[in-house]
Protein backbone atom coordinates (compact mmCIF):
# COMPACT_ATOMS: atom_id res chain seq x y z
CA UNK A 1 0.00 0.00 0.00
CA UNK A 2 2.80 2.33 0.81
CA UNK A 3 3.83 2.73 -2.84
CA UNK A 4 2.56 6.21 -3.52
CA UNK A 5 2.65 7.20 0.12
CA UNK A 6 6.26 6.62 1.03
CA UNK A 7 8.19 8.44 -1.61
CA UNK A 8 11.82 8.99 -2.24
CA UNK A 9 13.25 12.18 -0.82
CA UNK A 10 11.16 12.16 2.32
CA UNK A 11 12.73 13.84 5.37
CA UNK A 12 10.90 11.56 7.69
CA UNK A 13 9.39 8.22 6.76
CA UNK A 14 7.56 5.87 9.09
CA UNK A 15 6.87 2.35 7.87
CA UNK A 16 4.68 -0.28 9.56
CA UNK A 17 5.26 1.33 12.92
CA UNK A 18 3.87 -0.65 15.81
CA UNK A 19 4.09 0.27 19.47
CA UNK A 20 2.58 -2.26 21.83
CA UNK A 21 2.62 -1.90 25.59
CA UNK A 22 2.38 -5.09 27.58
CA UNK A 23 0.20 -4.56 30.66
CA UNK A 24 -1.17 -6.88 33.31
CA UNK A 25 -4.54 -7.04 31.58
CA UNK A 26 -3.20 -7.66 28.10
CA UNK A 27 -1.30 -5.87 25.38
CA UNK A 28 -2.27 -2.31 24.54
CA UNK A 29 -1.69 -1.74 20.85
CA UNK A 30 -1.21 2.01 21.03
CA UNK A 31 0.13 2.15 17.48
CA UNK A 32 -0.65 -0.76 15.24
CA UNK A 33 0.83 -0.40 11.80
CA UNK A 34 1.22 3.24 10.82
CA UNK A 35 2.83 4.44 7.58
CA UNK A 36 3.46 7.94 6.40
CA UNK A 37 6.17 10.05 4.87
CA UNK A 38 6.92 13.73 5.22
CA UNK A 39 8.25 15.61 2.23
CA UNK A 40 10.56 18.55 2.90
CA UNK A 41 8.57 21.69 3.68
CA UNK A 42 5.34 19.84 4.10
CA UNK A 43 2.95 19.88 7.05
CA UNK A 44 1.16 16.66 7.81
CA UNK A 45 -1.71 16.94 10.25
CA UNK A 46 -2.29 13.91 12.42
CA UNK A 47 -5.77 13.89 13.93
CA UNK A 48 -7.68 11.56 16.17
CA UNK A 49 -9.45 11.41 19.50
CA UNK A 50 -7.50 10.99 22.72
CA UNK A 51 -6.01 7.58 23.14
CA UNK A 52 -5.80 6.85 19.42
CA UNK A 53 -2.01 6.71 19.52
CA UNK A 54 -1.12 9.98 17.82
CA UNK A 55 1.18 11.16 20.61
CA UNK A 56 2.75 7.73 20.82
CA UNK A 57 3.65 8.00 17.14
CA UNK A 58 5.54 11.25 17.82
CA UNK A 59 7.18 9.91 20.94
CA UNK A 60 8.43 6.80 19.22
CA UNK A 61 9.86 8.91 16.39
CA UNK A 62 12.00 10.91 18.82
CA UNK A 63 12.94 7.79 20.74
CA UNK A 64 11.03 8.44 23.96
CA UNK A 65 9.14 5.21 23.36
CA UNK A 66 10.72 2.11 21.85
CA UNK A 67 8.76 0.88 18.83
CA UNK A 68 7.73 -2.78 18.87
CA UNK A 69 8.40 -3.06 15.16
CA UNK A 70 8.60 -0.98 12.02
CA UNK A 71 11.06 1.49 10.55
CA UNK A 72 11.62 5.15 11.18
CA UNK A 73 13.88 6.90 8.69
CA UNK A 74 15.26 10.38 9.05
CA UNK A 75 16.72 11.59 5.74
CA UNK A 76 16.95 7.99 4.63
CA UNK A 77 18.76 6.79 7.75
CA UNK A 78 17.10 4.29 10.02
CA UNK A 79 16.91 5.73 13.52
CA UNK A 80 14.74 3.35 15.53
CA UNK A 81 16.54 1.62 18.38
CA UNK A 82 19.78 3.60 18.03
CA UNK A 83 21.82 4.10 21.19
CA UNK A 84 21.64 7.49 22.90
CA UNK A 85 25.16 8.43 21.77
CA UNK A 86 24.56 7.61 18.10
CA UNK A 87 21.19 9.30 18.22
CA UNK A 88 22.38 12.56 19.81
CA UNK A 89 23.74 14.30 16.69
CA UNK A 90 20.64 13.21 14.73
CA UNK A 91 18.38 14.81 17.32
CA UNK A 92 19.51 18.21 16.11
CA UNK A 93 17.60 17.56 12.88
CA UNK A 94 14.36 16.71 14.62
CA UNK A 95 12.77 18.38 17.61
CA UNK A 96 9.50 18.26 19.43
CA UNK A 97 7.12 20.76 21.00
CA UNK A 98 4.94 19.48 23.81
CA UNK A 99 1.32 19.98 24.61
CA UNK A 100 1.33 21.36 28.14
CA UNK A 101 3.20 24.68 28.35
CA UNK A 102 3.05 24.46 32.15
CA UNK A 103 4.72 21.06 32.40
CA UNK A 104 7.21 21.31 29.55
CA UNK A 105 9.51 23.93 31.11
CA UNK A 106 11.66 23.21 34.13
CA UNK A 107 10.36 25.56 36.86
CA UNK A 108 13.82 25.87 38.43
CA UNK A 109 15.59 27.16 35.31
CA UNK A 110 15.52 30.63 33.82
CA UNK A 111 14.12 30.97 30.35
CA UNK A 112 17.61 31.81 29.12
CA UNK A 113 19.08 28.58 30.45
CA UNK A 114 16.15 26.58 29.09
CA UNK A 115 16.72 27.94 25.58
CA UNK A 116 20.51 27.63 25.93
CA UNK A 117 20.39 23.99 27.00
CA UNK A 118 20.43 22.53 23.47
CA UNK A 119 23.65 24.47 22.73
CA UNK A 120 25.17 23.14 25.92
CA UNK A 121 24.23 19.54 25.20
CA UNK A 122 25.26 19.54 21.56
CA UNK A 123 28.17 21.95 21.38
CA UNK A 124 29.21 22.29 25.02
CA UNK A 125 28.81 26.03 24.61
CA UNK A 126 27.97 28.36 27.47
CA UNK A 127 28.41 31.80 25.86
CA UNK A 128 25.09 31.66 24.07
CA UNK A 129 23.47 34.90 25.16
CA UNK A 130 23.27 36.41 21.62
CA UNK A 131 21.74 33.22 20.21
CA UNK A 132 19.21 33.04 23.03
CA UNK A 133 18.16 36.63 22.44
CA UNK A 134 17.85 36.09 18.72
CA UNK A 135 15.72 32.97 19.24
CA UNK A 136 13.48 34.80 21.69
CA UNK A 137 13.03 37.60 19.20
CA UNK A 138 12.12 35.11 16.49
CA UNK A 139 9.36 33.55 18.57
CA UNK A 140 8.05 36.97 19.54
CA UNK A 141 9.34 37.22 23.09
CA UNK A 142 11.02 40.21 24.64
CA UNK A 143 14.65 39.19 25.15
CA UNK A 144 14.98 41.36 28.22
CA UNK A 145 12.80 38.81 30.02
CA UNK A 146 15.30 36.01 29.60
CA UNK A 147 16.45 35.96 33.22
CA UNK A 148 12.92 35.27 34.36
CA UNK A 149 11.45 31.97 35.40
CA UNK A 150 8.70 30.07 33.58
CA UNK A 151 6.04 30.74 36.22
CA UNK A 152 6.29 34.44 35.41
CA UNK A 153 5.05 33.83 31.84
CA UNK A 154 1.58 33.19 30.42
CA UNK A 155 0.66 29.94 28.71
CA UNK A 156 1.17 31.37 25.24
CA UNK A 157 4.54 32.86 26.17
CA UNK A 158 5.64 29.59 27.68
CA UNK A 159 4.71 27.76 24.51
CA UNK A 160 6.89 30.25 22.63
CA UNK A 161 9.76 29.42 24.97
CA UNK A 162 9.26 25.72 24.20
CA UNK A 163 9.30 26.61 20.53
CA UNK A 164 12.53 28.59 20.88
CA UNK A 165 14.17 25.67 22.65
CA UNK A 166 13.10 23.29 19.89
CA UNK A 167 14.36 25.67 17.18
CA UNK A 168 17.74 26.26 18.81
CA UNK A 169 19.51 23.46 16.96
CA UNK A 170 17.97 24.49 13.66
CA UNK A 171 16.07 21.25 13.05
CA UNK A 172 14.59 20.23 9.70
CA UNK A 173 11.60 18.46 11.18
CA UNK A 174 9.40 19.60 14.05
CA UNK A 175 6.99 17.26 15.77
CA UNK A 176 4.25 19.41 17.26
CA UNK A 177 2.28 17.42 19.80
CA UNK A 178 -0.95 19.39 20.22
CA UNK A 179 1.01 22.62 20.56
CA UNK A 180 -2.05 24.82 20.99
CA UNK A 181 -4.57 22.51 22.66
CA UNK A 182 -3.82 23.82 26.15
CA UNK A 183 -4.06 27.51 25.15
CA UNK A 184 -6.91 30.00 25.07
CA UNK A 185 -8.55 30.33 21.69
CA UNK A 186 -7.25 33.85 21.09
CA UNK A 187 -3.72 32.78 22.00
CA UNK A 188 -4.07 29.67 19.84
CA UNK A 189 -4.39 31.84 16.75
CA UNK A 190 -1.25 33.81 17.63
CA UNK A 191 0.81 30.69 18.16
CA UNK A 192 -0.55 29.14 14.96
CA UNK A 193 0.45 32.24 13.01
CA UNK A 194 3.89 32.09 14.58
CA UNK A 195 4.24 28.44 13.57
CA UNK A 196 3.21 29.35 10.03
CA UNK A 197 5.71 32.19 9.89
CA UNK A 198 8.58 30.08 11.24
CA UNK A 199 7.81 27.38 8.77
CA UNK A 200 8.05 29.77 5.86
CA UNK A 201 11.20 31.51 7.11
CA UNK A 202 13.09 28.37 7.96
CA UNK A 203 11.62 25.89 5.49
CA UNK A 204 10.54 23.59 8.30
CA UNK A 205 8.66 20.35 7.95
CA UNK A 206 5.90 19.79 10.51
CA UNK A 207 4.15 16.78 11.87
CA UNK A 208 1.22 18.56 13.47
CA UNK A 209 -0.74 16.52 15.96
CA UNK A 210 -4.16 17.66 17.12
CA UNK A 211 -7.55 16.36 18.13
CA UNK A 212 -9.27 19.28 16.50
CA UNK A 213 -9.87 19.24 12.77
CA UNK A 214 -10.35 23.00 12.54
CA UNK A 215 -6.85 23.64 13.91
CA UNK A 216 -5.30 21.13 11.53
CA UNK A 217 -7.11 22.57 8.54
CA UNK A 218 -5.41 25.90 8.97
CA UNK A 219 -1.93 24.41 9.03
CA UNK A 220 -1.77 21.24 7.02
CA UNK A 221 -0.94 20.30 3.47
CA UNK A 222 -2.08 16.74 4.07
CA UNK A 223 -4.10 15.24 6.86
CA UNK A 224 -3.98 11.77 8.38
CA UNK A 225 -6.84 10.57 10.56
CA UNK A 226 -6.00 7.98 13.19
CA UNK A 227 -8.33 5.62 14.97
CA UNK A 228 -7.22 3.04 17.53
CA UNK A 229 -3.60 3.00 16.51
CA UNK A 230 -4.11 2.98 12.76
CA UNK A 231 -4.43 5.57 10.05
CA UNK A 232 -7.93 5.26 8.62
CA UNK A 233 -7.70 8.07 6.09
CA UNK A 234 -4.87 10.06 4.56
CA UNK A 235 -5.37 12.69 1.90
CA UNK A 236 -4.49 16.23 1.03
CA UNK A 237 -6.27 18.83 3.05
CA UNK A 238 -8.82 20.02 0.53
CA UNK A 239 -9.86 16.52 -0.41
CA UNK A 240 -10.33 15.38 3.16
CA UNK A 241 -12.45 18.37 4.10
CA UNK A 242 -14.46 18.42 0.89
CA UNK A 243 -14.92 14.71 0.29
CA UNK A 244 -14.01 12.62 3.31
CA UNK A 245 -13.95 8.96 2.35
CA UNK A 246 -13.96 7.20 5.70
CA UNK A 247 -17.08 7.13 7.93
CA UNK A 248 -14.93 8.10 10.91
CA UNK A 249 -13.55 11.17 9.16
CA UNK A 250 -17.09 12.18 8.23
CA UNK A 251 -18.19 11.83 11.85
CA UNK A 252 -15.22 13.91 13.02
CA UNK A 253 -15.94 16.62 10.48
CA UNK A 254 -19.59 16.80 11.41
CA UNK A 255 -18.55 17.39 15.02
CA UNK A 256 -16.79 20.63 14.08
CA UNK A 257 -19.23 23.42 14.90
CA UNK A 258 -20.10 25.91 12.19
CA UNK A 259 -19.86 29.55 13.30
CA UNK A 260 -23.13 30.49 11.56
CA UNK A 261 -26.04 29.59 13.88
CA UNK A 262 -28.53 29.23 11.05
CA UNK A 263 -26.46 26.67 9.23
CA UNK A 264 -25.45 25.14 12.51
CA UNK A 265 -29.09 24.43 13.42
CA UNK A 266 -29.96 23.05 10.02
CA UNK A 267 -27.00 20.85 9.46
CA UNK A 268 -27.17 17.17 10.10
CA UNK A 269 -24.69 15.76 12.52
CA UNK A 270 -23.41 12.24 12.56
CA UNK A 271 -23.49 11.06 16.13
CA UNK A 272 -21.24 8.17 16.92
CA UNK A 273 -22.97 5.66 19.13
CA UNK A 274 -21.27 2.83 20.91
CA UNK A 275 -18.11 2.77 22.91
CA UNK A 276 -14.48 2.62 22.06
CA UNK A 277 -13.40 -0.98 22.46
CA UNK A 278 -11.26 -1.65 25.54
CA UNK A 279 -7.63 -0.82 24.74
CA UNK A 280 -6.55 -4.37 25.47
CA UNK A 281 -9.33 -6.04 23.50
CA UNK A 282 -8.29 -8.22 20.58
CA UNK A 283 -9.97 -6.63 17.55
CA UNK A 284 -11.32 -8.77 14.76
CA UNK A 285 -12.29 -7.09 11.56
CA UNK A 286 -12.42 -3.32 11.21
CA UNK A 287 -11.52 -1.51 14.46
CA UNK A 288 -14.17 1.13 13.79
CA UNK A 289 -17.09 -1.26 13.18
CA UNK A 290 -18.41 -1.04 16.77
CA UNK A 291 -19.26 2.62 16.25
CA UNK A 292 -19.58 2.81 12.48
CA UNK A 293 -23.05 3.79 11.22
CA UNK A 294 -22.40 1.97 7.94
CA UNK A 295 -20.91 -1.30 9.18
CA UNK A 296 -21.94 -4.52 7.43
CA UNK A 297 -21.03 -8.20 7.71
CA UNK A 298 -17.69 -8.01 6.01
CA UNK A 299 -16.44 -5.43 8.52
CA UNK A 300 -16.66 -7.99 11.32
CA UNK A 301 -14.65 -10.52 9.37
CA UNK A 302 -11.67 -8.76 7.91
CA UNK A 303 -9.89 -5.52 8.63
CA UNK A 304 -9.76 -3.12 5.69
CA UNK A 305 -6.29 -2.10 4.53
CA UNK A 306 -5.31 1.51 3.85
CA UNK A 307 -5.71 1.76 0.09
CA UNK A 308 -5.50 4.51 -2.46
CA UNK A 309 -9.01 4.54 -3.84
CA UNK A 310 -8.50 7.83 -5.61
CA UNK A 311 -5.23 9.44 -6.59
CA UNK A 312 -3.82 10.99 -3.42
CA UNK A 313 -6.62 9.80 -1.15
CA UNK A 314 -6.07 6.74 1.01
CA UNK A 315 -8.67 5.18 3.23
CA UNK A 316 -9.15 1.99 5.18
CA UNK A 317 -12.79 1.10 4.59
CA UNK A 318 -14.45 -1.77 2.75
CA UNK A 319 -17.00 0.64 1.29
CA UNK A 320 -14.26 2.36 -0.69
CA UNK A 321 -12.66 -0.76 -2.07
CA UNK A 322 -13.06 -1.25 -5.78
CA UNK A 323 -14.46 -4.64 -6.58
Amino acid sequence: MSGANVQAGAVLAVTHLKVHFPTKRGTVKAVDGVDFALQPGETLGLVGESGCGKSTVARSIVGLVRPTSGRIELNGQEIQGLSADVMRPLRAQMQMVFQDPYASLNPRMTVASIIAEPFLIHHGRRDTDPEVCELMRQVGLDASMRRRYPHEFSGGQRQRVGLARALALNPAVMLLDEPVSALDVSVQAQVMNLLDELKRERGLTYLFIAHNLAVVRHMSDRVAVMYLGRIVELADRDTIYRAPAHPYTRALLSAVPVPDPVIERRRERIRLVGELPSPTAEIRGCPFRTRCPEAFERCAQEAPALQEHQPGQFSACHLNEQA
Binding site: Q99, L105, P107, R108, D129, C133, A143, Y149
Partner: protein
Protein backbone atom coordinates in the same frame (compact mmCIF):
# COMPACT_ATOMS: atom_id res chain seq x y z
CA UNK B 1 23.65 41.12 17.52
CA UNK B 2 23.57 42.90 20.82
CA UNK B 3 21.94 41.30 23.80
CA UNK B 4 19.48 43.60 25.52
CA UNK B 5 19.90 44.06 29.24
CA UNK B 6 18.02 41.33 31.04
CA UNK B 7 15.76 42.18 33.91
CA UNK B 8 16.04 39.89 36.84
CA UNK B 9 13.17 37.50 37.49
CA UNK B 10 11.98 36.36 40.84
CA UNK B 11 13.03 32.77 41.22
CA UNK B 12 10.88 30.26 43.01
CA UNK B 13 13.30 30.57 45.90
CA UNK B 14 12.95 34.33 46.12
CA UNK B 15 9.22 33.84 45.99
CA UNK B 16 9.38 31.28 48.78
CA UNK B 17 11.52 33.63 50.85
CA UNK B 18 8.95 36.37 50.42
CA UNK B 19 6.23 34.05 51.72
CA UNK B 20 8.40 32.75 54.55
CA UNK B 21 9.05 36.28 55.73
CA UNK B 22 5.33 36.79 56.26
CA UNK B 23 5.06 33.69 58.43
CA UNK B 24 5.74 35.09 61.90
CA UNK B 25 5.96 31.71 63.59
CA UNK B 26 8.58 30.50 61.13
CA UNK B 27 10.61 33.69 61.52
CA UNK B 28 10.39 33.52 65.31
CA UNK B 29 11.48 29.87 65.12
CA UNK B 30 14.44 30.73 62.93
CA UNK B 31 15.54 33.58 65.20
CA UNK B 32 15.13 31.43 68.29
CA UNK B 33 17.15 28.62 66.74
CA UNK B 34 19.85 31.08 65.77
CA UNK B 35 19.92 32.37 69.33
CA UNK B 36 20.20 28.86 70.79
CA UNK B 37 23.01 27.95 68.38
CA UNK B 38 24.86 31.18 69.13
CA UNK B 39 24.52 30.71 72.89
CA UNK B 40 25.64 27.09 72.81
CA UNK B 41 28.73 27.77 70.73
CA UNK B 42 29.71 31.20 72.04
CA UNK B 43 28.62 30.79 75.68
CA UNK B 44 31.19 28.29 76.95
CA UNK B 45 33.94 30.24 75.23
CA UNK B 46 32.79 33.45 76.91
CA UNK B 47 32.61 31.76 80.29
CA UNK B 48 36.16 30.45 79.92
CA UNK B 49 37.19 33.95 78.97
CA UNK B 50 35.60 35.28 82.17
CA UNK B 51 37.68 32.87 84.24
CA UNK B 52 35.29 29.98 84.77
CA UNK B 53 36.93 26.58 84.34
CA UNK B 54 34.08 24.48 83.01
CA UNK B 55 35.92 21.18 83.36
CA UNK B 56 37.13 21.63 86.89
CA UNK B 57 35.16 20.05 89.72
CA UNK B 58 34.43 21.71 93.10
CA UNK B 59 33.19 18.92 95.45
CA UNK B 60 32.38 21.43 98.15
CA UNK B 61 29.93 23.25 95.86
CA UNK B 62 27.96 20.21 94.62
CA UNK B 63 24.28 20.47 93.78
CA UNK B 64 23.79 24.15 94.54
CA UNK B 65 20.52 25.68 93.31
CA UNK B 66 20.59 28.57 90.79
CA UNK B 67 22.14 31.75 92.15
CA UNK B 68 23.81 34.93 90.86
CA UNK B 69 27.21 33.24 90.65
CA UNK B 70 25.83 30.04 89.08
CA UNK B 71 22.78 30.96 87.00
CA UNK B 72 21.73 27.37 86.37
CA UNK B 73 23.11 25.99 89.65
CA UNK B 74 25.76 23.28 89.83
CA UNK B 75 25.84 19.54 89.24
CA UNK B 76 26.87 16.77 91.61
CA UNK B 77 30.56 17.52 91.02
CA UNK B 78 30.15 21.23 91.58
CA UNK B 79 30.57 22.21 87.93
CA UNK B 80 28.63 25.17 86.59
CA UNK B 81 25.42 23.71 85.20
CA UNK B 82 25.08 26.53 82.67
CA UNK B 83 28.35 25.37 81.14
CA UNK B 84 27.15 21.76 81.11
CA UNK B 85 23.89 22.67 79.36
CA UNK B 86 25.67 24.75 76.72
CA UNK B 87 28.34 22.11 76.04
CA UNK B 88 25.61 19.47 75.86
CA UNK B 89 23.81 21.69 73.38
CA UNK B 90 26.84 21.78 71.11
CA UNK B 91 26.83 18.01 70.82
CA UNK B 92 23.05 17.72 70.46
CA UNK B 93 22.95 20.30 67.67
CA UNK B 94 25.94 18.73 65.97
CA UNK B 95 24.30 15.31 66.04
CA UNK B 96 21.13 16.80 64.62
CA UNK B 97 23.05 18.45 61.80
CA UNK B 98 25.46 15.66 60.89
CA UNK B 99 22.93 12.84 61.08
CA UNK B 100 20.51 14.86 58.97
CA UNK B 101 23.12 15.65 56.34
CA UNK B 102 24.13 11.98 56.21
CA UNK B 103 20.55 10.87 55.86
CA UNK B 104 19.75 13.48 53.19
CA UNK B 105 22.81 12.74 51.04
CA UNK B 106 22.32 9.00 51.25
CA UNK B 107 18.54 9.15 50.90
CA UNK B 108 18.56 11.55 47.94
CA UNK B 109 21.11 9.52 45.95
CA UNK B 110 19.42 6.22 46.73
CA UNK B 111 15.92 7.48 46.05
CA UNK B 112 16.96 9.24 42.83
CA UNK B 113 18.59 6.10 41.44
CA UNK B 114 15.64 3.89 42.38
CA UNK B 115 13.04 6.30 41.03
CA UNK B 116 14.87 7.27 37.84
CA UNK B 117 15.98 3.86 36.62
CA UNK B 118 12.85 2.11 37.87
CA UNK B 119 11.97 -1.45 36.99
CA UNK B 120 13.87 -4.32 38.57
CA UNK B 121 16.53 -2.09 40.13
CA UNK B 122 13.85 0.03 41.82
CA UNK B 123 12.15 -3.12 43.04
CA UNK B 124 15.34 -4.48 44.62
CA UNK B 125 16.44 -1.17 46.16
CA UNK B 126 13.06 -0.36 47.67
CA UNK B 127 12.52 -3.87 49.06
CA UNK B 128 15.83 -3.42 50.86
CA UNK B 129 14.50 -0.18 52.36
CA UNK B 130 11.30 -1.98 53.38
CA UNK B 131 13.39 -4.66 55.00
CA UNK B 132 15.45 -2.15 56.99
CA UNK B 133 12.25 -0.35 57.96
CA UNK B 134 10.96 -3.61 59.35
CA UNK B 135 13.82 -3.93 61.80
CA UNK B 136 13.10 -1.97 65.01
CA UNK B 137 15.29 1.10 64.69
CA UNK B 138 16.59 0.79 68.26
CA UNK B 139 17.89 -2.64 67.43
CA UNK B 140 19.50 -1.28 64.25
CA UNK B 141 21.14 1.61 66.11
CA UNK B 142 22.49 -0.64 68.85
CA UNK B 143 23.75 -3.09 66.23
CA UNK B 144 25.60 -0.35 64.35
CA UNK B 145 27.04 1.05 67.59
CA UNK B 146 28.34 -2.39 68.50
CA UNK B 147 30.13 -2.66 65.16
CA UNK B 148 32.50 0.08 66.27
CA UNK B 149 35.46 -0.68 68.51
CA UNK B 150 35.45 0.39 72.16
CA UNK B 151 37.88 3.17 71.39
CA UNK B 152 35.70 4.58 68.65
CA UNK B 153 32.65 4.43 70.88
CA UNK B 154 33.92 7.29 72.99
CA UNK B 155 33.76 9.61 70.01
CA UNK B 156 30.41 10.79 68.66
CA UNK B 157 31.17 9.21 65.28
CA UNK B 158 29.23 5.96 65.78
CA UNK B 159 26.12 7.80 66.84
CA UNK B 160 26.29 10.16 63.86
CA UNK B 161 26.56 7.15 61.62
CA UNK B 162 23.90 5.07 63.40
CA UNK B 163 21.30 7.84 63.42
CA UNK B 164 22.02 8.74 59.80
CA UNK B 165 21.62 5.11 58.81
CA UNK B 166 18.20 4.96 60.41
CA UNK B 167 16.90 8.27 59.09
CA UNK B 168 17.83 7.96 55.42
CA UNK B 169 15.18 5.34 54.76
CA UNK B 170 12.34 7.85 54.83
CA UNK B 171 14.29 10.37 52.77
CA UNK B 172 14.91 7.69 50.15
CA UNK B 173 11.21 6.88 49.95
CA UNK B 174 10.19 10.51 49.69
CA UNK B 175 12.75 11.31 46.98
CA UNK B 176 11.92 8.17 45.01
CA UNK B 177 8.25 9.12 45.00
CA UNK B 178 9.09 12.62 43.77
CA UNK B 179 11.43 11.34 41.07
CA UNK B 180 8.83 8.86 39.86
CA UNK B 181 6.37 11.64 39.13
CA UNK B 182 8.99 14.06 37.81
CA UNK B 183 10.61 11.74 35.31
CA UNK B 184 7.43 11.61 33.23
CA UNK B 185 6.97 15.37 33.27
CA UNK B 186 7.18 16.96 29.87
CA UNK B 187 10.22 19.08 30.71
CA UNK B 188 12.17 15.91 31.42
CA UNK B 189 10.97 14.40 28.16
CA UNK B 190 11.95 17.60 26.40
CA UNK B 191 15.47 17.33 27.82
CA UNK B 192 15.65 13.76 26.63
CA UNK B 193 14.50 14.75 23.15
CA UNK B 194 17.32 17.31 23.15
CA UNK B 195 19.73 14.45 23.83
CA UNK B 196 20.53 15.17 27.48
CA UNK B 197 22.23 12.31 29.29
CA UNK B 198 20.96 10.59 32.43
CA UNK B 199 23.28 12.53 34.75
CA UNK B 200 22.23 15.85 33.29
CA UNK B 201 18.56 14.96 33.57
CA UNK B 202 18.89 13.77 37.17
CA UNK B 203 21.02 16.64 38.43
CA UNK B 204 19.73 19.56 36.35
CA UNK B 205 16.10 18.67 35.89
CA UNK B 206 14.87 16.22 38.47
CA UNK B 207 16.75 16.79 41.74
CA UNK B 208 16.38 20.60 41.82
CA UNK B 209 12.65 20.04 41.69
CA UNK B 210 12.68 17.69 44.68
CA UNK B 211 14.70 20.18 46.72
CA UNK B 212 11.72 21.88 48.32
CA UNK B 213 10.40 18.66 49.76
CA UNK B 214 13.87 17.54 50.82
CA UNK B 215 14.65 20.82 52.60
CA UNK B 216 11.42 20.65 54.53
CA UNK B 217 11.92 17.03 55.43
CA UNK B 218 15.47 17.78 56.56
CA UNK B 219 14.36 20.52 58.95
CA UNK B 220 11.92 18.07 60.46
CA UNK B 221 14.61 15.38 60.67
CA UNK B 222 16.92 17.49 62.84
CA UNK B 223 14.55 17.52 65.86
CA UNK B 224 13.71 13.86 65.28
CA UNK B 225 17.39 12.96 65.44
CA UNK B 226 17.99 15.06 68.56
CA UNK B 227 15.07 13.33 70.25
CA UNK B 228 16.28 9.93 69.14
CA UNK B 229 19.67 10.63 70.66
CA UNK B 230 18.02 11.71 73.91
CA UNK B 231 16.25 8.40 73.98
CA UNK B 232 19.53 6.58 73.41
CA UNK B 233 21.07 8.62 76.22
CA UNK B 234 18.34 7.31 78.52
CA UNK B 235 19.53 3.82 77.64
CA UNK B 236 23.14 4.79 78.23
CA UNK B 237 24.01 4.67 74.54
CA UNK B 238 24.33 8.39 73.98
CA UNK B 239 27.21 10.35 72.56
CA UNK B 240 28.87 11.97 75.58
CA UNK B 241 27.37 15.07 77.13
CA UNK B 242 24.16 15.99 75.31
CA UNK B 243 20.83 17.48 76.33
CA UNK B 244 19.42 13.99 76.28
CA UNK B 245 21.99 12.79 78.81
CA UNK B 246 21.49 15.83 81.05
CA UNK B 247 17.72 15.41 81.02
CA UNK B 248 17.99 11.73 81.84
CA UNK B 249 20.41 12.47 84.72
CA UNK B 250 18.16 15.29 85.85
CA UNK B 251 15.20 12.94 85.94
CA UNK B 252 17.05 10.67 88.36
CA UNK B 253 17.81 13.47 90.82
CA UNK B 254 14.24 14.78 91.03
CA UNK B 255 12.40 12.48 93.41
CA UNK B 256 10.77 12.56 96.86
CA UNK B 257 14.15 12.18 98.57
CA UNK B 258 16.09 14.91 96.79
CA UNK B 259 14.92 17.56 94.35
CA UNK B 260 17.67 19.18 92.26
CA UNK B 261 14.94 20.52 89.92
CA UNK B 262 17.32 22.84 87.98
CA UNK B 263 19.14 19.81 86.60
CA UNK B 264 15.97 18.68 84.85
CA UNK B 265 14.46 22.05 84.03
CA UNK B 266 17.26 23.85 82.16
CA UNK B 267 18.31 21.20 79.66
CA UNK B 268 14.60 20.45 79.06
CA UNK B 269 13.91 24.11 78.28
CA UNK B 270 16.76 24.26 75.79
CA UNK B 271 15.74 20.99 74.18
CA UNK B 272 12.11 22.03 73.92
CA UNK B 273 13.01 25.47 72.52
CA UNK B 274 15.18 23.92 69.83
CA UNK B 275 12.59 21.35 68.84
CA UNK B 276 9.82 23.95 68.70
CA UNK B 277 11.91 26.33 66.60
CA UNK B 278 12.85 23.61 64.14
CA UNK B 279 9.28 22.43 63.81
CA UNK B 280 8.01 25.95 63.20
CA UNK B 281 10.77 26.49 60.67
CA UNK B 282 9.94 23.24 58.90
CA UNK B 283 6.24 24.03 58.76
CA UNK B 284 6.96 27.53 57.49
CA UNK B 285 9.32 26.24 54.82
CA UNK B 286 6.78 23.67 53.68
CA UNK B 287 4.12 26.31 53.23
CA UNK B 288 6.53 28.73 51.58
CA UNK B 289 7.90 26.23 49.07
CA UNK B 290 4.51 24.87 48.07
CA UNK B 291 3.61 26.81 44.90
CA UNK B 292 -0.09 26.21 45.53
CA UNK B 293 0.00 28.59 48.47
CA UNK B 294 1.04 31.44 46.16
CA UNK B 295 -0.16 34.73 47.51
Amino acid sequence: MTAPVAEKGTSLWADAWRRLRRNHFAIAGTLMLGLVILTCFMGPWLMELLGHDLERTYPERANLPPSFSDWFGTDELGRSYLGRVLIGGQMSLLIGLVATVTSVVLGVCYGAIAGYYGGKLDEVLMRLVDFLYGIPYMFLVILIMLMFSDAARDSPLPIFFALGMVQWLTTARIVRGQVLTLRHQEFVLAARVLGAGDMRIIFRHILPNTLGVVVVYATLTVPAVILLESFLAFLGLGAGVTWGLLVSEGLSVVNPVQSYWWRLLFPSIFLALTLFSLNFMGDGLRDALDPRTRR
